[in-house]
């Protein structure tokens, strides 16, 4: 029997491939060159990789098909996520280059791992098969485990990497169990499927059978696996420890990218593929959303370490985005995407400031270290103010618009009470953001502290994110328009 090779079209994963190739180049080139040289050209190589990736992503904007044996979805949703992720990765690399120089830990692996992690996250957004989702999940998770423990000399760094790794493996097992159950019920792991080879969506569009029950159980385990990645309660316990121990640029990258990737898979899986099953999984996600919003906001109040505080705030934000997911309407999806993109920019900016102000080996990350920061570094403190206000959802910042849209979508879907809880927890959340501002502006700086060097690349990142935060708060229509175009999922047929 002659073998007919499957038709291979790579447009759907071209952005990922660009990143993987540049990761290889960075790793190999980095091992051959001296570290002095690396300092300059490795970030440049990574930048070129991200640039190529964005180019490939943009060039397929508007296309809509399944590729590679229906395992990869090439649609606006994936493209929107990929562009956002590439931007996050780019900012992380720039920020990281200054960070590594300052702490004297320049190694090519940092850039290679960030590139690979972003590739995994991108794959997450375009995966149209549970197995591919798992593959993508592991790709970026493993890269992140290493990145979290990048500060090898720091005990905290090692501890956090170990915790993240153990719990990550734990959650992956549940996700795998979910996949197995789904396969048992449906006989396929594909999210959409076609007439010859029906997938999840296809299966649900037919009449319910006993196997539907098994699929419902499977959704429970899939929620566990993805809930871990987006740091939803009760799978959030690793977040503060990992965020605290990771280098600040990586913390920002996790908060922005890991969350976006997790939500991308969650949105595609639940709001598209398992849409017909929404009456089953929605109560579950609502419960998780409410618990996440409350626990994240309340726990953030008592934190004394700025990175832990931002970690809990990122948990709370996962809850806010979940309100957009449970809305299961177009506005909810586009709102979630907009929220994640703008949140990612603000939180990366915030961690950029934390990373700079932390000083060598990040020894100044407690709240008391920010006393009078405004008088020592007015521009950085001003930018941090902007980011925190955006995270708190104050008007004229992008965070306000994001909250407005996801909450609006939830109200439209009839879940006003969830929105009420969201607003109340936002009010609690505003308290701890404001606490940082009070410390920065109203307390006297500690004179004995040595000055902190501010790198050029890192300050560029702060400036860019600050400008983006304010611009997206004022002129948000183009981005939300793009997010609205991106709500069109590929649904098989």
């Amino acid at each position: 029997m002659p073998f007919v090779p499957p038709e291979i079209r790579l447009a759907g994963i071209a952005p990922e491939m660009a990143l993987v190739v540049s990761a290889f180049v960075v790793l190999i080139a980095g091992t051959f060159a001296r570290s002095r040289v690396n300092r300059v050209y490795l970030p440049a190589l990574a930048t070129i990789g991200f640039g190529a990736s964005i180019y490939f992503a943009v060039s397929v904007w508007g296309e809509n098909e399944l590729q590679l044996s229906d395992m990869i979805a090439l649609d606006g949703f994936a493209t929107f996520c990929k562009i956002s992720l590439a931007v996050f990765g780019l900012l992380t690399v720039w920020l990281g280059s200054d960070y590594l120089t300052r702490d004297g830990i320049e190694e090519p692996e940092f850039y290679g791992l960030v590139l690979l992690a972003v590739a995994g996250m991108m794959l997450m957004a375009s995966a149209a098969d549970l197995i591919v989702i798992f593959l993508a999940l592991e790709t970026f998770s493993i890269a992140l485990y290493v990145l979290v423990g990048y500060r090898r000399r720091s005990i905290e760094g090692q501890e956090s990497a170990m915790k993240y790794f153990l719990l990550g493996a734990f959650s992956s097992s549940f996700f795998l169990l979910g996949i197995a159950l789904a396969y048992g019920a449906v006989g396929s792991t594909n999210l959409y499927g076609n007439s010859e080879n029906p997938g999840l969506a296809q299966f649900l569009s037919e009449s319910a059978s006993e196997a539907t029950g098994v699929l419902v159980l499977a959704t429970g385990f899939l929620v566990v696996g993805l809930g871990f990645k987006i740091a939803a309660v009760p799978f959030h316990m690793w977040t503060p420890d990992a965020y605290q121990g990771a280098p600040s640029p990586i913390t920002g990258f996790m908060a922005a990218g890991s969350k976006l990737a997790g939500f991308a898979a969650l949105l595609r899986l639940f709001d598209a593929s398992l849409f017909a099953l929404r009456w089953e999984w929605r109560p579950l996600l609502i419960g998780i959303a409410v618990a996440t919003m409350i626990a994240g906001s309340v726990l953030a109040v008592v934190q004394e370490d700025i990175k832990r505080m931002l970690a809990y705030s990122s948990i709370a934000h996962a809850g806010f985005v979940l309100t957009g997911v449970i809305a299961t309407n177009d506005r909810g999806i586009s709102g979630s995407l907009f929220y994640l993109a703008t949140y990612g920019i603000a939180v990366l900016g915030g961690f950029a400031v934390v990373s700079i102000l932390g000083g060598k080996d990040e020894h100044r990350v407690r709240l008391v270290d920010y006393k009078g920061a405004f008088y020592e570094h007015p521009a950085l403190a001003g930018a941090l103010t902007l980011f925190l206000l955006s995270l708190a959802g104050v008007p004229v910042t992008s965070g306000f618009v994001g909250k407005l849209v996801v909450f609006g979508a939830a109200i439209e879907a009839g879940y006003s009470w969830v929105v009420v809880i969201g607003m109340l927890t936002s009010a609690i959340a505003a308290f701890f953001y404001l606490r940082v501002l009070v410390v920065m502006y109203m307390q006297e700086p500690d004179e004995s502290r040595p000055p902190i060097p501010v790198g050029r690349a890192a300050s560029t990142v702060v400036a860019l994110t600050a400008v983006a935060t304010i611009i997206l708060g004022l002129f948000w229509s183009p981005l939300i328009g793009a997010a609205e175009d991106a709500t069109f999922f590929f649904v098989g047929g």
Partner: protein
């Protein structure tokens, strides 16, 4: 034989249950008939006939781990190479190029490892 979707799982369940019962029953039966003469040697951990020495927490050199990991490169390579080689002729050039790319990626990994110096054993 039970019918339906869950019925099929029930068959497995019954099978598993029967298996466990059988093992348990055999062990209990043996306990009834065998003589009971305990000695110290009988209570030591079974280590393939070798005397267990030292404590339970034994350290092995972490470098073995890296060698094991590198071995996976060749392992994975072999898994794909054998089936490919068998039907090499019918696959044509496209598959050949793909395999070259695949081996190239693995070779890059090996190159990286060598350059990092993990193959040098310094004691």
């Amino acid at each position: 034989m039970p019918e339906g979707y869950f019925g099929q799982y029930a068959t497995i369940g019954i099978f598993a249950l029967a298996g466990m019962t059988l093992v348990g029953a055999t062990l209990q039966l043996a306990k009834l008939v065998r003589p009971n003469v305990p000695t110290v040697q009988k209570y030591t951990t079974y280590e393939s006939g070798i005397d267990p020495i030292g404590r339970g927490w034994a350290q092995s050199n972490v470098r073995y781990y890296i060698f094991a990991l590198l071995f996976v490169i060749f392992d994975v390579e072999a898994v794909f190479l054998f089936p490919w080689a068998i039907i090499f002729e019918s696959l044509g050039t496209q598959a050949f190029i793909e395999m070259i790319i695949f081996i190239g990626i693995l070779a890059l990994a090996l190159l990286y490892a060598i350059k990092k110096g993990v193959l040098e054993w310094l004691s």
